[in-house]
């Protein structure tokens, strides 16, 4: 979990200047407004490293994961997998190959499994489609995979239907299915937010173990800063489609610089203090569709000055390895 180890890790996936705009429904065709859901996002995923992407609903964090998995096509920028441009992959075979290297786990383990199919079906399908093992060995591999995600006795679990499993167990099946193709990258989109608190830790610990044992690069998308701190080596904070802060976990969460990161931290339930101890300021709503010139957080920001509204802030390394998109903050504090 040390910074040095992370810095030396091999980059598996490079995201450069990634952008995605969606047309705003209802707007007239002549004056079509575009919603800039993801705007110039750059980061890398490294082997054996968990990178957390945190932000509130609508910040664009899930869209980033979906762009990387090619569920969406970017409007700008590029995704490089081991130096190869993912956007240039078009052939079925090429895409199948990419998807076997980059797997996705979704938020809702209740809807991501087919209710009329047993667990062994779900886990064996990727093995067959991607021809990972000979047909005769598929069932053995299914049991192995279930065992590796803590679903024991694997032989019994394999014969169950999704409704016979708890939410946590279902999410483990989804992880086993992702692992089946021996991926190098796993994109986990809020994998614990629908689970009970006591079950969440088990999934987070599993992510941590898989990263170490299988050298997988994880993108962990969440709005839960405490879980990001628990499992991630690097943290990216996203606001209104842009990365506003980026660095090693301890740097970003123990010494946050961006006012938005500070706001997020102050909103986390804290049993040591009452709700009234750190009240949030009322917020105006940023309209992403409107072409804002300056800082997108300016109207909610306690530090905002006149220049914030007129000058677009740039993501800069203000402390070693610690990037922040705010010219106002003092990096020495």
């Amino acid at each position: 979990m040390t910074v040095a180890a992370v810095a030396g890790a091999e980059r598996t996936l490079d995201v450069q200047g990634l952008s995605k705009s969606f047309p705003v429904p209802g707007a007239s065709l002549l004056h079509r407004k575009m919603l800039r859901a993801v705007d110039d996002v750059t980061f890398a995923l490294k082997q054996g490293t968990v990178t957390a992407l945190v932000g509130e609903s609508g910040s664009g964090k899930s869209t980033v994961a979906r762009l990387i998995s090619r569920l969406y096509t970017p409007t700008g920028g590029s995704i490089l997998y081991r130096g190869e441009d993912v956007g240039a992959m078009h052939g079925k075979q090429e895409l199948l190959q990419y998807r076997s290297r980059v797997q996705m786990i979704f938020q809702d383990p209740f809807s991501s499994l087919n209710p009329v199919k047993k667990v062994d079906y779900h886990v064996s399908r990727p093995l067959l489609i991607h021809r990972i093992v000979p047909k005769a060995d598929v069932l053995d591999r299914v049991h192995e995979l279930l065992h590796s995600v803590g679903l024991v006795p694997a032989e019994e679990i394999a014969k169950k239907y999704p409704h016979e499993l708890s939410g946590g167990q279902r999410q483990r099946v989804a992880i086993a299915r992702a692992l089946a193709v021996e991926p190098e990258v796993i994109l986990a989109d809020e994998p614990t937010s629908m689970l009970d608190v006591s079950i969440r830790l088990g999934i987070l610990n599993l992510i941590h173990d898989l990263k170490r044992e299988r050298n997988i690069a994880f993108l962990y998308v969440t709005h839960d800063l405490a879980s990001a701190r628990y499992v991630a080596d690097d943290v990216l904070v996203m606001y209104a489609g842009q990365i506003v802060e980026h660095g090693p976990t301890d740097e970003v969460l123990q010494r946050p610089m961006h006012p938005y990161t500070k706001l997020l931290l102050s909103a986390v339930p804290n049993p040591n203090a009452g709700l009234h101890s750190h009240r949030l300021a009322p917020r105006p709503k940023t309209d992403l569709a409107v072409d804002l010139v300056g800082c997108r957080f300016a109207e909610r920001c306690p530090l905002a000055v006149a220049s914030c509204v007129s000058d677009p802030p740039v993501l800069l390394e203000r402390r070693p390895n610690h990037l922040v998109r705010c010219p106002i903050v003092d990096p020495s504090t």
Partner: protein
């Protein structure tokens, strides 16, 4: 039933007039040939103006309790025995018409999926009007004006009475539902996982608003969630449920500082901290029992790290004898053999 239990549940830490009281409530889900006990002899009270938290994992019976108070349980669920008293009157004996009057006016409920409980085809304001006209003699104009005031109360613009639900964000829809729950000035608002689907910033904004309104208007809240860290901040008193039973209850600060039941301790330590050393935490091993065949003895013993055959006498009690709630401090009740032994 022992005396300590009786005393503890009817006298909260701060003496208040009791608003709702569950006495030995039993709720069963009766399916063909078998019966599952979702709520097992639960005693719980909510005082006037009090915020009571009810915490536990999925399937522990906490939402069943909420639906029982609202008298919304439908087959196969049934109240098998026990009483649900609101200001002394047993709700299980009320007529359908009495219940219709009682809901919204005396007790309102904000559901887990409340965001999706608004009618997508009707303007928000018209939904207020429908609900208010069903309960009070009020003109449409007056009801709309009241709706606009309520929207402002929960921190939204008056103009949103003219919005359709799809025009509002998830947080705004949840605020709208809370405004509706407050419309008839109920004495108790039951909130069942009201912010689970929302992100932390919106969650805090909404809970701050509810807390402000609660202080101004004086209604009581029964707040149901699996997020104990949120409850400790938000409520006056907390009850912890496990497999259909209340295993511990105390004032929030007492429960946070001196949790006694190993399950409560496990829930508390399931939250990764935001400060201090980053080390591996285990939380609670295993998963909740199948209520169709709950474990004998203490229901938590299958997951309890203090249940060890190496101490045979205690182990025998833990695996065969059901622990009862006993008072370990003022208003602090625990059902655990370990506490009994201390």
């Amino acid at each position: 039933m022992n005396a300590a239990l009786e005393d503890g549940t009817t006298a909260p830490a701060v003496a208040r007039e009791t608003l709702v009281e569950l006495r030995e409530l039993v709720v069963d889900y009766v399916l063909s040939g078998r019966s599952i006990r979702a709520v097992d002899h639960v005693n719980l009270s909510v005082g006037k103006g009090e915020i009571v938290g009810l915490a536990g994992e999925s399937g522990c019976g906490k939402s069943t309790i909420a639906n029982a108070i609202m008298q919304l349980l439908r087959a196969p669920a049934q109240v098998t025995s026990g009483e649900i008293r609101f200001r002394g009157e047993d709700l299980t004996k009320m007529s359908t018409e009495q219940l219709r009057q009682f809901r919204w006016s005396n007790v309102s409920m904000v559901f887990q999926s409340a965001m999706n409980s608004l009618n997508p085809l009707m303007r928000v304001g018209d939904q207020f009007v429908d609900m208010m006209k069903a309960h009070r003699k009020i003109s449409k104009d007056d009801a709309l004006a009241r709706a606009a005031t309520l929207m402002e109360l929960v921190g939204m613009d008056r103009s949103h009475v003219r919005s359709y639900p799809h025009e509002l964000s998830g947080g705004m829809r949840q605020r709208t539902v809370i405004a509706m729950a407050l419309a008839l000035g109920p004495e108790l608002m039951i909130m069942d996982e009201p912010t689970t689907a929302l992100d932390v910033v919106v969650q805090r904004e909404i809970l701050q608003r509810v807390q402000d309104l609660q202080q101004d208007l004086g209604f009581a809240v029964l707040f149901i969630t699996h997020d104990l860290s949120l409850l400790v901040e938000f409520s006056d008193r907390i009850a912890i449920m496990y497999a259909g039973e209340i295993v511990e209850s105390a004032a929030s600060d007492v429960l946070f500082e001196r949790p006694q039941h190993p399950y409560t301790v496990g829930l508390m330590s399931s939250f990764p901290p935001l400060s201090g050393p980053r080390e591996r935490i285990v939380g609670i091993p295993g998963s909740p029992p199948d209520l169709a065949k709950p474990p004998a003895g203490c229901r938590f013993h299958t997951r309890c790290t203090h249940c060890d055959p190496a101490s045979p006498a205690l182990y025998r009690r833990q695996t065969t004898e059901r622990p009862v709630l006993r008072e370990v401090g003022p208003g602090h009740l625990v059902a655990c053999h370990l506490t009994d032994e201390r």
